[in-house]
């Protein structure tokens, strides 16, 4: 990682005061991160296993929990590919062409990062709820969006919208398009050029964006909470199932589901680090 670059430049031996400062600052950092990050993570695992491995497994075998896992996987299976295709398209248009209003477009793509997740759910109610613009039309056709899976998918697309695009735009801008232009001038078809030249060049950045997008999609709570209606076994994703179990004081079960999500988070960090290492960048 690039963060190590400055460490080796230390030539002059440290004075006693510098050594003391160093020790103090490292101690503060480790203490702060330990309290803030490790204690909660540890709490999840300890609580999940408070009554043993058998109880943990039994909690995860609950039919409502299983259906919440299925719904989370289904949502991710729809949302991640959709936002990946969007991200590639947006990055191609923005990084490869100069046009008016580009910075406005970039700002609008970033908008979901600045908006509260609760708003992402709320706005869908004004479109598809019974009082919303399309509410009556949907009712006549017996299609339910709010308090149903389509609403969950739409809210999740909203909040995870920028992830892939944001990774790809700076990467593609930095790489330039000389190789694509060369391939095209030699007679390669546009699609072939994209698959054979562009895609291999951006694969690590793309993977990085997809990993982050997936973590957000599977873990989203606020936006989904507003549109889900919390119908057990039907419209509960894993984070919502965690909330329901927790509010029922069913702590072992709540933390059992939470422990799966925590493992997903750790896997995400590992995958992210591997991708940074493979692509030779320091990440952010």
């Amino acid at each position: 990682m690039a963060a190590g670059a400055n460490v080796a430049t230390e030539v002059r031996p440290m004075t006693r005061a510098e050594r003391a400062t160093r020790a103090a600052l490292i101690a503060v950092s480790v203490g702060f991160l330990g309290l803030l990050l490790l204690a909660p993570l540890g709490a999840v695992l300890v609580q999940a296993l408070a009554k043993g491995l058998g109880e943990w497994l039994a909690s995860l075998r609950d039919p409502d929990t299983i259906s919440s896992i299925k719904l989370t996987l289904l949502t991710a299976a729809i949302v991640v590919p959709v936002n990946t295709v969007f991200g590639i398209c947006a990055a191609w248009a923005i990084a490869r062409f100069e046009f008016r209003g580009k910075s406005l477009l970039v700002t609008l793509i970033d908008l979901p990062f600045a908006v509260s997740p609760v708003i992402a759910g709320l706005v869908l109610v004004f479109l598809f709820g019974t009082q919303g613009w399309f509410g009556e039309w949907l009712l006549e056709r017996n299609v339910q969006v709010i308090f149903a899976v389509p609403g969950i998918v739409l809210a999740t697309i909203f909040i995870s919208f920028p992830y892939v695009a944001r990774e790809l735009i700076p990467l593609m801008q930095q790489q330039g398009s000389d190789e694509e232009v060369a391939a095209l001038s030699l007679g390669a078809r546009p699609w072939t050029t994209f698959v054979r030249i562009t895609l291999p060049k951006i694969r690590w950045g793309l993977l990085y964006g997809v990993i982050l997008c997936n973590a957000r999609v599977m873990g989203e709570f606020g936006a989904v909470s507003v549109v889900s209606g919390h119908i057990r076994g039907v419209t509960n994703t894993m984070p919502l199932q965690v909330e329901i179990l927790y509010n029922e004081y069913n702590f072992v079960a709540a933390f059992a589901v939470a422990s799966l999500l925590a493992m997903l988070a750790i896997l995400t960090l590992v995958a992210k680090t591997l991708v940074e290492w493979r692509s030779g960048t320091g990440g952010h």
Binding site: L36, L41, C89, W92, L105, V115, M218, G222, A262, K272
Partner: protein, 282 residues
């Protein structure tokens, strides 16, 4: 820039297709729904809208959401800087692991960090018990909101400051030291001015995220009206009570604040670029 034309000609194909799809998808998924809420909010007579926004419970929620987000971002500015400094300047066992862990709040679902913090800081929890003995209650008070927002905002500050710290010119520091400047003076005169824009960016990003945060806060805050109720929660409550107008009004206000924050982030970054361009010769 594009000069006089709308699109600069390029030998590359696919502009129409990708630009068209991007704008269509953006409009359908983001702009149309946001527009529906804004139109609903602006359909409320102005005096009623104002009364809803200045309602006692709403104002108390702004105070908590904005106050806790600002305090949490300030705490992160201090500790996030120390963490970034330790990670960039020192080598110690576990440094790489710690560096990876910084992104945990990005990867961990907010509901999970929410119930975990509530458990750790509850009066019977590991930390809550110790704090309770010292007479401090964190869970179910405004302090709990601050703790949750510190967790959520940490990576924004550390990841903003780290690259800036790598850029600080060691030769300037050494020169200052050789001329007799003490450690604090070097920090104040050389290091702080170089990283200030990055620190300001990290603060603003953490603050902006904190204002809208929901999942990690609602479990630890206790959600008492007028006391520990954040604005996003108040929106959810209005919606559950079928008070669509009230939810639209508060949602509209939060959206306006999001735009203000986006503008602030842009201004801070522009200020930083100007400052780095003029201030330090590269």
């Amino acid at each position: 820039m594009a000069g006089g034309r709308i699109v600069v000609p390029s030998p590359l194909p696919g502009f129409g297709l990708t630009f068209g799809f991007t704008t269509f998808f953006l409009s359908a998924i983001i702009l149309l729904p946001l527009g529906a809420m804004v139109i609903r909010a602006l359909g409320i007579p102005p005096s009623e809208l104002l009364a809803m926004l200045l309602d006692e419970r709403a104002v108390a929620s702004y105070r908590l959401s904005f106050g806790a987000a600002a305090l949490a971002a300030a705490i992160n500015a201090v500790f996030g800087f120390i963490v970034a400094w330790s990670l960039v300047r020192y080598d110690f066992p576990g440094r790489r692991l710690l560096d990876t862990m910084i992104d945990l709040p990005f990867a961990l679902p907010t509901a999970v960090s929410g119930i975990a913090l509530a458990t750790v800081f509850s009066p019977t929890g590991w930390l809550g018990l110790k704090l309770a003995q010292a007479g401090i209650q964190v869970a179910y008070t405004w302090l709990g909101v601050v703790v949750a927002l510190v967790l959520i905002g940490l990576p924004f500050v550390v990841r903003s400051v780290q690259p800036a710290l790598i850029e600080v010119r060691k030769d300037l520091e050494d020169a200052a030291e050789s001329l007799g400047a003490g450690g604090f003076n070097v920090f104040r005169r050389i290091i702080l001015p170089t990283i200030l824009p990055a620190l300001a960016t990290g603060f603003t990003l953490a603050f902006a995220r904190g204002i809208g945060e929901y999942g990690s806060v609602v479990f630890i805050s206790g959600n008492l009206p007028l006391k520990t109720e954040i604005t996003p929660l108040l929106i959810v409550i209005k919606l559950e009570q079928y008070d669509y107008a009230g939810a639209a009004a508060l949602g509209f206000f939060m959206l306006v604040m999001s735009f203000v924050m986006l503008l602030a982030i842009n201004l801070v970054q522009q200020w930083g670029q100007r400052r780095m361009g003029i201030g330090v010769a590269r």
